[in-house]
Symmetry: C2
Subunit: 421 residues, 2 copies
């Protein structure tokens, strides 16, 4: 029987889940996998959490270096989040020739390449299945089989809070109430900024781009927008047009460039991602030999995420041990994106304004596919007008919007969303 001697740094929600699974399933893991996972020591800034979990004093410390320097520990799980102390822990753990397991997407997004090469150099493993998709086994699947096939693209709904809010809005509930409900149910953080503004999804896209394309992207370098500007009007209009609005994270190879993006998107109702509602996540990966493969499940939560951590612990020394090859792809610029678009304008309610707009579309050679205007709105000061375009260029479409702003016939900054057909 193999033995893994473990240290856990961080006893928050996920740490508690890992602790519970290891405690309750130790004999099951022995029986099924021939592995004995022995928890040597835990660490947290607060001793209260250790007390809550009834961890013995001898198995607890406030100083994480105690774990990193403990010769009896061979593998460390980091669950504190952030990219400063967590990075220090990662570097010291790997340098001390211990395996490093984490759920920290921000850390892997930022320093994944460097940490993996440090792990290789020290002949230990860096594992981070829990950083993307919570309980959905996605990264290990990519490593196990998708890599053989050369991934062409991924697209996913990777943030449960946003998806929950969008689902509630599709049922007629306004943004603020939907967010409140998500917080009550525990999907959204007390401060949901990183969920709502797309940054949580961006970290996952960055991690996936490393695993799928060997591409070391930083979130600062790609287009990231969130769900802040969405309203019930858009959700209803999308539904009328046969689409649902979802926040997607996307990565794809376009010739020798990697296109990475996070934004709202109109998905056709027969798209398999379209039925992914509420707090569920799903990621669809298209590869050369396998074609599309989608995985669906809870993207977060204590036990799903903790399960991913434990499955990584079981994979330690599994020989499936890969490295990133920096292929030096270039980053695709979103200005070069060709797509159908959904544009929602809030037009001043004067006759002739729509004619001015259609003239502008003609000038920029952008073909209008449909115009939706609700006759119920005729008495409003500003009427929402929805225009969908045929395939057009992102940069040109934004130029048109700039011109529109100058005409002063609509509210500034209209909502522009790509349509995935």
């Amino acid at each position: 029987m193999r033995k893994i001697n473990l240290g856990i740094i961080g006893l928050g929600t996920i740490g508690e889940g890992v602790y519970k699974i290891l405690k309750n399933q130790r004999s099951r893991i022995k029986e099924y996998y021939d592995i004995d996972i022995n928890l040597i020591k835990t660490c947290d800034i607060s001793p209260l959490l250790a007390k809550k979990l009834k961890i013995k004093k001898s198995k607890f410390t406030k100083n994480y270096m105690d774990l990193i320097n403990d010769p009896n520990i061979d593998s460390i799980v980091e669950l504190i989040g952030g990219t400063t102390i967590a990075n220090d822990i990662a570097i010291n753990t790997l340098r001390n020739k211990k395996n490093f397991i984490t759920a920290n997407k921000a850390l892997i997004a930022k320093n994944g390449f460097e940490l993996l090469s440090l792990a290789k150099k020290n002949n230990v493993q860096l594992l981070y299945e829990a950083s993307v998709g919570g309980g959905i086994p996605i990264l290990n699947s990519i490593q196990d089989s998708l890599l053989i096939n050369q991934v062409k693209s991924f697209i996913g709904i990777m943030n449960g809070t946003c998806n929950y809010i969008l689902t509630l809005m599709a049922n007629g509930i306004e943004f603020d109430n939907a967010l409140k409900k998500a917080q009550e149910l525990g999907f959204a953080e007390a401060d949901p900024t990183l969920d709502i503004n797309g940054m949580d999804t961006a970290h996952k896209v960055s991690v996936l781009s490393k695993d799928c394309f060997d591409f070391d992207s930083k979130v600062e370098n790609f287009h990231v927008t969130g769900i802040e500007n969405i309203s019930k009007i858009d959700i209803e209009a999308a539904s009328q047009l046969g689409y649902k609005i979802k926040l997607i994270g996307l990565g794809r190879i376009v010739k020798n460039k990697i296109d990475l993006r996070v934004h709202l998107s109109l998905l056709k109702k027969d798209n398999p991602l379209c039925n992914v509602d509420r707090e569920f996540n799903a990621i669809l990966i298209d590869s050369k030999n396998l074609g599309p493969v989608m995985k669906y499940g809870y993207g977060a939560g204590m036990l799903p995420t903790a399960t991913a951590i434990v499955s990584d612990i079981i994979r330690i020394n599994s020989n499936i041990n890969r490295s990133f090859k920096n292929k030096k792809y270039k980053m695709f610029n979103i200005n070069n994106l060709e797509s159908k678009f959904y544009l929602r304008l809030n037009l001043k309610n004067n006759p002739g304004n729509l004619a001015k707009i259609t003239k502008l579309f003609a000038k920029y050679s952008i073909n209008i596919e449909k115009i939706l205007q609700n006759p119920d709105n005729v008495n409003l000061k500003h009427v929402p007008v929805i225009i969908t375009t045929k395939k057009s260029n992102y940069k040109t479409t934004n130029k048109l919007i700039n011109q529109l702003d100058k005409l002063n016939i609509a509210l500034k900054n209209p909502l522009l969303i790509p349509i995935e057909d």
Copy 2:
């Protein structure tokens, strides 16, 4: 670098795919996984296939024992299908202390438990990821993480031919034409009997029941029906009621029994399985800690299935090495199933017949939820009448159908389909 010395028995479609991937991706596999897969010898009853693939004469034999007895070979891939010669190959391979990798669902369904214990005894591995879900990595995921969580149930669309036919029928095409189209596109075998009658799905359910529940079920012991009796009327009626009709394979723990079944089912339109159309497969697994996880992709085809074989080869000696624990669950009897049902009768077009039927429902205390009857059909000799029930017992519902047959007011053997809500 680890070295795997391989033999392949069977050079049909999947064998060709494996051969091609190993040839084209050998250096990529070396680079990413530090594994050199060295193909020592191939075997087929027909030398023509070896010729087609330009395999050297020295690397080909018609006698599979040449591979099994070759001391230079450590792992054998079996791709001939069936359960007689394939079983002989499996037993001899494992006894000779070589790893055995297969896509043969019928073999694993029938002899999986025995073969795995033979593998354990000889300290080699039995791997069969390709036997369920083709290119969808499902079994390895179960072994990697779901087992920690104790699987509660699985339900899936596991046969691409049936799903393709049902999708085409939902678009107005009749059964026979849909089957013909599936054959033209290469999804359906020349003899599609095992697809259509549910037996292919049953083999997969049997394999999954071993991996999910450690339950050694044989296909003879559970309820298996196919898609033969479905008509356009049913698909349209289901759609009107807010459902889609799919052929599902299902396994779940009901107290200390395992409920395994293959049959048509009405799935609600917001069920994630419902958007799984055409030749796609999907399997939804519910486990204690992870909640529902669904995987979606091509369930068959040369390259997806071959990819699963190659990912198994890469997993050889990965230490993730589990055995079946026969927990001695009992088999759940479908007669005890409580479910909502869809019943389509072909009623003789005489006044008063519907009253006789509703009386019969009252007698058996089965509550009717809805009755659908198309007024356009009034001139037909037999009119299709669709009745959906509230939750009722399968055995009682069949008793009612028997009584109905005796009344001689409808065609015999009406269509009865459980509804998944």
